[in-house]
Symmetry: none
Subunit: 195 residues, 4 copies
DNA sequence: GATGAATGAGTATTCATTCAT
DNA sequence: AATGAATGAATACTCATTCAT
């Protein structure tokens, strides 16, 4: 009996996303030592299930990383398209990014993947390439801010790197209940890159 | 002929340090997936050798982390004792810390240990405690800078966190050959926390 | 409208045979490591399909073996019923058996099943029993040949075993493209058991 | 403390041989479905032990096969160097080969490896190459026999193949307690290739 | 002390089998 | 009936740790 192909495909897509969500959260908490079974349990499924969606743990890890980078890129893009001063867009980015726990998870996974020798160079290259694209968006915004006077002068590349570094690490600190990064922190951050 | 006990002890100390050095470098590169044998090879010894200096892989990891934090603390302490404006001391810290590759290794290990669920809470507490002590030194320096006018106003705790975050991540970027953090970067950093 | 029960049954029989064919060929090529899915793919069906015709992989394997033995037996029977000298019947058997690839497949599966500890003794007994029946046919033929002077003297059991051994292995060699067993080989074989 | 290097090496060699022996016997009985643990148990060791001598199950399998072929080759070589008629040498080979159980084990493993798709073509090529070398020895002997009148006329390649086939399969039959191949069988066999 | 053989708990992955659709 | 999603038992292989030499 033939099944409903459209629905089958949609269901499959959904389950794939469920696994990615579970994986991101567990990879973030247990690093690359995560067991496939941890992920399966988090997703409420058996480990065999995971393997019918991802060929290997490495493939799953790479998918998690890619998705995190893509989402981050979309958030940046959205900010760029707002009206107003560049500094307001930076503020928007900071509060947007800091408000979502999953960003911190993704970032933690990314850090480990990229600063570690555990992946092929080829895979690391792809990840870096996507990272560069995202940073390019920030660089544009820095330039915009330097033009409209809301961002200090200086090498846009370095300023973009410092800004990105700051918000990403604030995420980490926040999620691990170090220092709650609050509105004040964001103010401070904006001032630091301000003129 | 009695053995030279002092010398024996010194030799033992030295070999212990050799292992710690090897371990820090390998843990940094291969994360918590590091094998004892990787470390032994890096130290030019057999894996059995490692076990006559450290009871377990976890104990070795904790020792590596502690040593990294202690060294970082000493570097901060040294800066505090310099003569001059607080901002000059910050500059000194930045260039000192950035100049030593082993700091980046230690920081990477620390990050993984602390943002991961792989250690006991008890051990994580000790690590956080030492982290707090180091940050306290930075907080003092921030306050000193706010008094002498070389650091901007704002919550010293948050400023210290932001500063620490920046230099630690710059280390990582540098060591992984992302963006070479150079003197300009340090200038920028000092300006950012400046008034 | 009542379904055509006869036709349903025939269809079911046909699909069962399709699976057996697929299974024989895959078992022969991949041995007992064959996956149910390999067989399903070879049969152009899903693995679930296989299970609506055979309860388990073992049952399927046993069915494959049994069918191979039965077909071999029929081929021997047919030869026995021919007119002529026993040696002509041997020649007929040899060329008949060697001409069908599926015989080699069946024999390879049989070998593995029987010289291996992977089946129950009970199942192995059944297989051996059928093997004995087939060999009995050959023994009759040997005796017939000894009577009509076309086969050498000697223990008929041993001669039958040697003959069976030879044609079965020639099949294997042929199918794996070792030495093409041709008409000359058959001549030689007949001479060897000849007087 | 340095160890006795010579002795260490010898011990290692011996243990390697022990594993090969165990592996040959288990592979023969359980085919390619053999578990590494079966072998370890047979060798009276843990499965981890096996892995410090062979990198993988496949490597171990290949080593077992190679050793079996090498030993068979040596047995043939020895026969060739005897004094006397070729048919006596054949008789010697037959009784020599049939007297050692391990030959049957090796042959069974070889059969499965070579008639199955489970190994790389490259590995299969190596195995076939060694097989050819061994058969070449038999071919020489056939020719010798045709010259001294103790072997029937006919294509030496085919005669060698038939002879090899016969003794190898007799081994199998014998070891699985089918038909005890006894002196009579060998007589028969010699007569069959005789003039 | 130093080595590396040996063990066995732990983990990624596969695949027979079941069963809802 | 036919499919393929889901499960979990089974198994290859790894690696921390121990310990005899």
């Amino acid at each position: 009996m033939p099944r409903n192909l459209l629905r089958d495909t949609q269901m499959r897509e959904k389950r794939r996303r469920d696994i990615l969500d579970a994986a991101a959260s567990v990879f973030a908490r247990r690093g690359l030592l995560t067991k496939i079974d941890d992920i399966a349990v988090e997703a409420g499924r058996s480990h065999g299930h995971v393997y019918s969606y991802f060929k290997s743990k490495e493939e799953l890890l790479l998918a998690v990383i890619k998705r995190g980078q893509d989402i981050y890129g979309e958030q940046l893009q959205m900010a760029l398209e707002l009206e107003g001063k560049a500094s307001d867009k930076f503020r928007y980015i900071a509060s947007k990014v800091l408000s979502q726990e999953s960003n911190a998870d993704s970032y933690m996974v990314l850090l480990q993947a990229i600063f570690t020798d555990l992946l092929d160079d080829e895979e690391k290259q792809k990840i870096r390439q996507r990272g560069k694209m995202n940073r390019q968006l920030l660089i544009e915004l820095i330039k915009e801010g330097q033009a409209d006077g809301s961002v200090r002068q200086g090498d846009p590349i370095q300023l973009a790197t410092l800004f990105a570094t700051l918000i990403q690490n604030l995420m980490l600190l926040k999620i691990r209940e170090y220092e709650p990064a609050n509105e004040t922190t964001i103010d401070l951050l904006i001032q630091m890159i301000g003129p």
